[in-house]
Amino acid sequence: MIQIPCPYCGLRNANEFASTGEVKPRPDVATATPAVWRAYLYDHRNPEGLVTEGWYHRAGCRKFLVVERHTQTNEIRSARPAGVAS
């Protein structure tokens, strides 16, 4: 099981967290076309490489985090609170 370095709790097992998926900007609701909006909802890049994804420390500090993870090696480059610039 991978471990996620929570900025508040330290290195913790991933099963304490819930994945909220790849971090993507929310399209502007006033101008988004169905194609743009549904790509936001349903299309995931899932690259072989680094992804920026959300993890919620459900069984810990209950903070939403933004984590950079390599999908092949599971190496974690960074983990910071959501909404805070990197």
Binding site: M1, I2, Q3, N13, A18, T20, R26, V29, A30, A32, P34, W37, Y40, L41, Y56, R58, R62, K63, F64, N74, P81, A82, G83
Partner: protein, 938 residues
């Protein structure tokens, strides 16, 4: 097929004391096997005790039901799986006999000795490669019959429905180094790591440490004695025996299955380690030839184990086929133990076995020199398999070494992952110890302890590549796959290991390829004219060894939640309803009577599980505007509003009410099942897009006990207990919230809302006073006819009122307008979660509508999930909720229905599970009871 006769002269028996024996002759035990009594000594395995008593057949093979005896005398012996009492699939060559054990053979019918299914041997051609695919395909109507036949024939023990659940435990361990394998290299690795200051967990599959030293000669036993002494003196090493590291996952997260634990049946240890050392040793490989599965044919390590560990003579007259020094040593060992070694075949000089013959037991061996040697024991030593599973799970790809005729790995194949011992190379026991010690020190250094050590050279020695003789025999004993099947699979085009494996099922049985894989690859290589290196191998996946479901499950840790009013519900004999984590009263005996009480007088329902969130901060309306589909900016202090939340796809996610308690204080309620998810949803917005909002969230779900007081007499009842709140209808109207005291309990929240459709008040009372307030209400209202009502009565009444339940009357595709919420959704808001989807939904017609349906046959309540049929018999919807209404005295339903039929008055057909279709009419309004809402507002 002749039945296997009980042998007049046993071929096996007990020897005199051996220096390394693990049996305690002073402690005899009794057990039974297939109803017959047997003696064992403490330390005997089931199989060693039975062999000592002259038995040689322990199972019947999977497909052909051939008699099978001991092969490897280890946990992975494919032929020694038995049932012990209530426990199926016990590895008889591993499990120690306990006094009074009731052991029986599996996969035999009617008995081990007279097995009618052995007739399968005569129809072998129907069971050859791919037989699952070829035989059981057509005709389709016979599939259920095939299933019955296969179940009857498949191997496996019996689990009784009433068997007691053992005490299974879980443990978490945090160590620097895990060493998997307690042979000489593994023990040395543990010592090397501990010397560097590491905390070490040493895991050994057998009940004793030592690996092959245990059944080696005097020199091996001397070295083992020294290692054990060193281990006893070392600090920081925990040893788990009869335990196996079954899986290695990311970050050296390692599962260890402890099979014998004091005070528990089994234990699963979840270990987080800084470094992993795999010292799994080598598994001896069987040899493929005709008759290689006859009882009496066994591996050289099996013979050595039986003689040296259990003092069991495995036969009286032996043929030994040897390709290595270990095999030569076993020939000498047998001779010294009084077994007549009739012939020794040296595989290094191309001498080999052509066939083993016998009925039910080996009686003669045909050699490549054309001799036929009478023998009851044939021992083979033709090579080794490297059980690299844990390394493969770490992403390591072992390479096939042609000269050594086995897969090998380096000592440091991956960061934090190490290997030592036979997986890496061949050496004297002292050489293995030196390597192990250095690897242990290096693993400790990788985990942050010490400075490591210089690694001595260790590489595999040459070994002849021996897989198959000139005849065909079994490649996979557990699955009854012969080399002929592998050739056939290759001829039919299944010529890669992954394809041929699935087609033949070779390596897919209980031993998962530990004995069979390399032979399978060797035979496939032969059949396809390629080398093993070219073929590649199949994937090793967890678990390395079978893990019981009990060990995975552990102790039951399901949390259960009760409301503080539970003592009352229990005293009243309420029927419990499991609602996620909550146990709630479904009803108190008669739900219809409970409905009548609420409709005519007053009732109380415990709604404590409703989610409750306190929101404080000046930006709370902005948050509510974002999360709910309706508008919140104009909510006055003291007012309550109904709200629905959608996800970004417009699908209804939760509903509830939210009341403004003070200038910057709001209390939000959620559905009971959505309490946790809504809290997370609110937090998610506040921590991401809504970081700038001044809102603080406090979950109060269990801080309050919640009681809904419903019925025309509810105001009268509350007027007797409430202080500080004017209950007059104009002062406290429908959809208002007040704070006050109830029965002297201060700081209660009262909101006037009505899920049941009656005049009603929802009280949120500090949880510690919940039971007190509940009982006070019952006492104060006895003259009004007050009583409790449960979930069932509430469900009936909300259905009469046409109130939807999210998740019951909506599903994972129901967007808000398809849930009858058009009146609520405010598309003129600049933004809210899911808005774009609802804008687009509003611009089309084609979505299903939520409607109330009234079946014209008043006696039939169509079950929930019944399909609705259109004119042509096409499916046009389904019933989402249905009950008999005690108030209206006819069935009432909510349904999801295609838009073109959703007009009031339209008649559709409800297709009942019994095959009948009954007509039903779409009602004018969702509410069948008080559709004007007069009672709510009374």
């Amino acid at each position: 097929m002749r039945p296997v006769a009980r042998r007049a002269t046993p071929t096996s028996g007990r020897l005199g004391p051996r220096p390394g024996e693990v049996i305690d002759r002073a402690r005899p035990l009794r057990f039974t096997f297939d109803g017959r009594p047997y003696l064992a000594y403490e330390g005997d395995t089931i199989v060693s005790a039975l062999l000592a008593a002259g038995e040689s057949v322990f199972s019947r093979s999977f497909k052909y039901h051939r008699p099978r005896g001991v092969l490897s005398a280890t946990f992975f012996d494919p032929n020694c799986t038995v049932q012990v009492g209530e426990e199926p699939n016990v590895r008889g060559a591993h499990r120690r006999v306990r006094n009074g054990d009731v052991v029986s053979a599996q996969n035999v019918w009617p008995s081990l000795r007279y097995d009618v299914k052995a007739a399968n041997q005569a129809v072998g051609r129907f069971l050859s490669a791919g037989f699952y695919y070829k035989t059981f395909i057509k005709p389709e109507p016979l599939w259920p019959a095939y299933q019955q036949v296969l179940k009857r024939f498949a191997a496996g023990g019996v689990v009784g429905a009433d068997d007691p659940h053992g005490y299974y435990d879980h443990r978490y361990a945090h160590v620097d180094v895990v060493v998997a394998g307690g042979g000489p290299a593994g023990i040395a690795a543990a010592l090397g790591a501990a010397e560097a200051g590491a905390a070490v967990l040493l895991v050994e599959e057998e009940p004793h440490l030592g690996g092959h030293l245990r059944y080696g000669g005097p020199e091996a036993l001397r070295l083992l004695g020294e290692l054990r002494q060193e281990l006893a003196d070392a600090k920081g090493i925990e040893v788990l025996t009869d335990s196996v590291a079954t899986g290695r996952y990311d970050g050296n997260w390692i599962a260890v299955h402890q099979r014998s634990v004091p005070g528990a049946t089994e234990r699963l240890v979840k270990v987080r380690a800084g470094a992993l050392v795999v010292a799994a040793g080598l598994i001896e490989r069987p040899y493929v030839f005709a008759g290689n599965d006859l009882p009496g044919v066994m591996l050289s390590t099996a013979a050595a184990r039986l003689v040296n560990l259990y003092a069991v003579r495995p036969g009286t007259r032996a043929v030994v086929l040897s390709a290595n020094a270990e095999g030569d040593a076993v020939a000498a060992l047998l001779a010294a133990a009084g077994v007549e070694v009739a012939a020794t075949l040296d595989a290094r000089r191309a001498e080999t076995v052509v066939a083993a013959r016998g009925h039910g037991h080996l009686s003669s061996v045909e050699t490549s020199q054309g001799r036929v040697v009478e023998a009851d024991l044939l021992v083979t030593a033709t090579g080794w398999t490297a059980p690299t599973s844990l390394l493969n799970m770490a992403g390591v790809r072992p390479t096939y070494d042609e000269a050594a005729a086995r897969f090998v790995v380096g000592a440091e194949p991956s960061p934090g992952v190490f290997a030592t011992g036979g997986l890496v190379g061949d050496a004297s026991p002292e050489g293995l110890v030196a390597h192990g010690r250095a690897v242990g020190a290096r693993a400790a250094a990788a985990a942050g302890c010490g400075k490591g050590a210089v690694l001595p050279e260790l590489s595999p020695g040459p070994h002849p590549a021996l897989f198959r003789s000139t005849t065909h025999g079994f490649v996979d004993y557990s699955e009854d796959v012969s080399s002929k099947d592998v050739f056939q699979a290759a001829a039919e085009g299944y010529d890669s290991p992954e394809l041929a494996k699935r087609y033949t099922t070779a390596t897919m049985g209980p031993s998962q390829g530990k004995l069979e894989l390399v032979n399978f690859l060797g035979v496939l290589a032969e059949a396809t004219g390629r080398s093993i290196g070219e073929l590649g191998t199949t994937t090793w996946r967890p678990p390395y060894a079978p893990v019981s479901l009990g060990a995975l499950a552990g102790r039951p840790h399901e949390p259960v939640r009760y409301s503080p009013i539970q003592p009352y519900h229990e005293a009243m004999g309420a029927k419990p309803l499991v609602a996620a984590q909550w146990i709630r009263p479904d009803h108190y005996g008669d739900p219809d009577a409970e409905v009548r009480r609420v409709r005519e007088a007053v009732g109380l329902i415990d709604v404590t599980p409703l989610g409750k969130l306190l929101l404080v901060g000046k930006d709370t309306p902005a948050l509510l505007n974002q999360l709910y589909v309706n508008k919140w900016s104009a909510l006055r202090v003291g007012a309550v509003r109904y709200g629905v939340m959608c996800a970004e796809d417009g699908v209804v996610f939760d509903d509830g009410v939210c009341g403004r308690l003070g200038e910057d204080r709001y209390l939000m309620s959620t559905t009971s099942s959505g309490a946790g998810a809504v809290w997370e949803w609110v937090e998610r917005w506040l921590q991401t897009a809504g970081r700038h909002l001044d809102v603080y969230v406090t979950p109060l779900t269990t801080a309050y006990a919640s009681i809904n007081v419903a019925g025309p007499a509810s105001r009268t009842l509350l007027s007797r207990l409430v202080e500080g709140v004017d209950l007059a209808p104009e002062a406290f109207p429908y959809m208002a919230v007040r704070e006050g005291s109830v029965a002297g309990v201060e700081r209660c929240v009262l909101w006037r809302i009505g899920f049941t459709g009656e005049l009603s008040y929802e009280l949120h009372v500090p949880a510690g006073y919940g039971l007190f307030v509940w009982e006070s209400l019952l006492d104060a209202g006895s003259d009004l006819g007050v009583g409790p009502f449960g979930i069932e009565a509430q469900r009936i009444m909300r259905l009469e009122k046409g109130h939807l339940i999210v998740g019951q009357d909506t599903d994972g595709l129901t967007q808000a307008l398809g849930a009858g919420l058009d009146w609520l959704v405010k598309l003129d808001k600049a933004d809210f979660v899911g808005k774009p989807e609802l804008v687009w939904q509003a611009n089309r017609e084609d979505y299903d509508r939520l409607v109330a349906l009234v079946p014209t046959d008043e006696r039939t309540v169509p079950p929930e999930a019944s399909q609705l049929l259109g004119i042509d018999g096409d499916i046009v919807g389904r019933i989402t909720s249905s009950r008999h209404s005690p108030t209206l005295r006819h069935p009432i339903c909510l349904a999801r229905l295609a838009h073109h039929l959703a007009t009031p008055g339209t008649v559709v057909r409800i297709h009942l599970p019994d095959g009948r279709d009954v007509p039903a009419r779409v009602a004018e309004t969702l509410a069948a009871y008080d559709s004007e809402g007069v009672k709510l507002r009374a």
